[in-house]
Amino acid sequence: MVTLTPSTRRLLSWHAGAWVWAHGCLTLYLFDWGVRYHDDVARQCHLKLPPFGRALSELTPYFQFPSTWLWLTLLWTVVLWRVTRLQEGELQLARPFALHILMQSLLIWLAVAISFLFYIPTGYLG
């Protein structure tokens, strides 16, 4: 069993926190791109979208790159900072971890919506 020194624990916790933050920023970037890509394909092919896809398409007018992404990244940074607790210089990672998982839901939503584009028989590949 490896015992970590307090300074190593602090360093590792900040390292993990930084990855959670970066993962969130990249997820938002991908989501921003995905919303616009999804809408482009759906419009070009005049697709009748399932509820997941329709909900995503309704978001499209609000996604103007890069301003929306930058605002969302700022919001993500603030929320992450506010919910993360610091104890003797060490980040308590439970809440950032929960947020990270919820953030990943955006990716799942995107994956499902884009996979439907290929599913619809008259769609992208039809």
Partner: protein, 140 residues
Amino acid sequence: MTEEVFNGPSSEALARTKARRDYAYVLFAVWFQGCLTFYAVEAIVGSLGGLFEGEPPLASPLTEALLWLKSTLPDGFSGPMMIVWTLGLLWLHLPRRRQQDERPLPSLALPLALHLGLTCLLVLVMIALGLPTLEMIGRL
């Protein structure tokens, strides 16, 4: 106990309560991710079936495994899977609630393992869909 009545909960007890609440947030997030992932897997497996209808599958063993899954599992299989998932998480968590208050602080290892497992599942399914789709786009 008497001390707690007069002085309020100690800082250690407060820290424990906070840690347990944070753990509950993580469990909720993992539960939510699981439900969404099962729905996504069902949707993606369905889309694979639509994509290759009337054609032999083009690609990887992963794709073939998914097509086999589609032929084996009934439509709407994500619903029962969500129920099993919910009950499984409750079963893992509830026994700890029955123990005394001196129980050790919950570790994040289990939620982390579940989260990574679900993520791997989604990535595998996306690869299974992505490979043949790219191949078809290449042929068009």
